[in-house]
């Protein structure tokens, strides 16, 4: 397993969007800068969503404008509908992300429509993005379990992933939104989906709610997956278990990859510094075990 792995840092979006304390535009820009300085390249930096529903993402247009012409990174923004798309395009987005759920229950609870309706909703977004030369990444949520529907069949994931792929998404990110997956199930899911979408175009977006994320990522890598979504400091939490862990921490992923001889280009000290800064702003210690251990060692000295 010496090949390259691509990390998609989702802390500034999927992370901060799910933190109680909203972080201002300037602080988010500083956070993104710190992540780039630490060696991360692909960063999801905002979402063009309803400011009422998700105040944490207010000002995403301003954030995007600071980065959209930069060539030292790849900057993603989440876009749920055509209104969001207009705003993202106006802020010169080069890559947008759309999302669907593998679970009917989650789709209804989260965006108040069926999975099929949600697909109809982002179809024109993807079509316009393609004609505007904007790349589209597709998220599928609840791929290993749903807080409402419980177990999710791989076929449900395949169905949605295939639609996103056929519409023209360049990569499909498979989200274990509530972190209930375990290694063999993660591996089996990747194998199943890879029968319909090339493995190289599948990303693993695993939450660490039950501490399983790294084991699941390792299992997925054994199956051939090579793209990992993670959030600095394990930002994000879990809306379905407030106080629990969120996205798998970038630090913990980087530690594993480097230990496996896979170079990430990430400067761990700088990454932990970025995490510590944002942790101060949201008012809780980092959930990354690597960050906690390195901070503890520093205090011990």
């Amino acid at each position: 397993m010496s090949e390259q792995v691509r990390i998609v840092e989702v802390g500034p979006r999927d992370g901060l969007q799910n933190e109680k304390t909203p972080v201002g535009v300037e602080e988010r820009v500083a956070f993104i800068e710190a992540l780039l300085a630490a060696g991360l390249h692909t960063v999801e930096i905002g979402a063009f969503v309803s400011p009422k529903a998700i105040p944490q993402m207010v000002g995403s247009d301003e954030v995007l404008r600071r980065f959209s012409s930069r060539t030292d990174g790849e900057f993603h923004v989440l876009v749920p509908n055509e209104k969001g798309y207009e705003a993202a395009r106006a802020a010169s987005a080069k890559v947008i992300a759309v999302f669907a759920s593998a679970s009917e229950g989650f789709s209804r609870a989260n965006i108040n429509c069926s999975v099929a309706e949600s697909i109809e909703r982002f179809k024109p977004v993807v079509a316009r993005a393609k004609s505007d030369g904007i790349e589209v990444r597709g998220y599928v949520s609840c791929v290993l379990g749903c807080p409402y529907d419980g177990e999710i069949k791989p076929q449900a994931v395949i169905d949605v992933a295939k639609i996103l792929w056929d519409l023209g998404c360049y990569e499909i990110s498979l989200g274990d939104t509530i972190g209930v997956g375990t290694p063999m199930k993660a591996r089996e899911l990747l194998r199943a989906v890879a029968g319909h979408v090339p493995m190289a175009s599948l990303a693993m977006h695993f939450h660490d709610t039950y501490g399983q994320a790294l084991a699941n990522l390792y299992a997925g890598m054994e199956e051939g997956a090579r793209v990992i979504d993670s959030a600095a400091g394990g930002l994000g939490g879990c809306p379905y278990a407030p106080g629990a862990t969120g996205n798998v921490a970038t630090e913990d992923v980087v530690y594993m990859l480097e230990g496996m001889g896979i170079a990430t280009g990430v400067d761990m000290a700088k990454l932990v510094e970025a995490t510590n800064e944002i942790s101060k702003l949201i008012g809780r210690p980092p959930l990354s075990r690597v960050a906690a251990a390195l901070n503890a060692r520093k205090r011990g000295r």
Copy 2:
């Protein structure tokens, strides 16, 4: 991977021994009872060590006396030398554990003698135990890295593991004492040691300091290892990084195994209850991510 996995619960010893706040004998007995009630069977319950050096283990003779004649579990105690052996035997120990380090630097710092000297020290202990019909488990510490010597060669682990095995230990527990291991290294180590000690007699004792433990356990299981040491609530911390995570949490291990279709016989709710009780006594929340998530969900209700 549908075979059985054996869990050795080390919370009451390796866990509590490394917690700042000592827990009294009655409270430790209650904790062990709670662990048994949760379905755990093999439990390391104390250590016959210097009360000055490790006050947390004072009263281990009393703890052991409560359990030594019980048939509803298997109870281990750590024994560093002949003096400790006398006391353990007097309290009717049926299984004792001895330990050596794969690292010279750790051996010197931890027990103030070379690895070879430490082996000479427990040789008579193992010999006497065998003639007394007491079973002996052997620990090897620092198998994936040392806080003093850095990287540890698999051959150094093999050398010590083989000595313990040849002396008559029924099982060798390979300890990633400072949690620096990563999956492929863990797997390679197990493969190397299994060339000299049967895989069925190797236990994985991995700390979660850098969040890698579950991934390492999964990798070790793929190599064929089937014995896992863990501590309820991730008790134990790391003396080399105060504030960091300790032993891999039994809850997180059980969650992974059950998710893989491997029945553990553990009642998760009862286990988390046991963890919550001991966590109150030592004055900090559980480090287990499963316990944290389940507690959070309970609060959220």
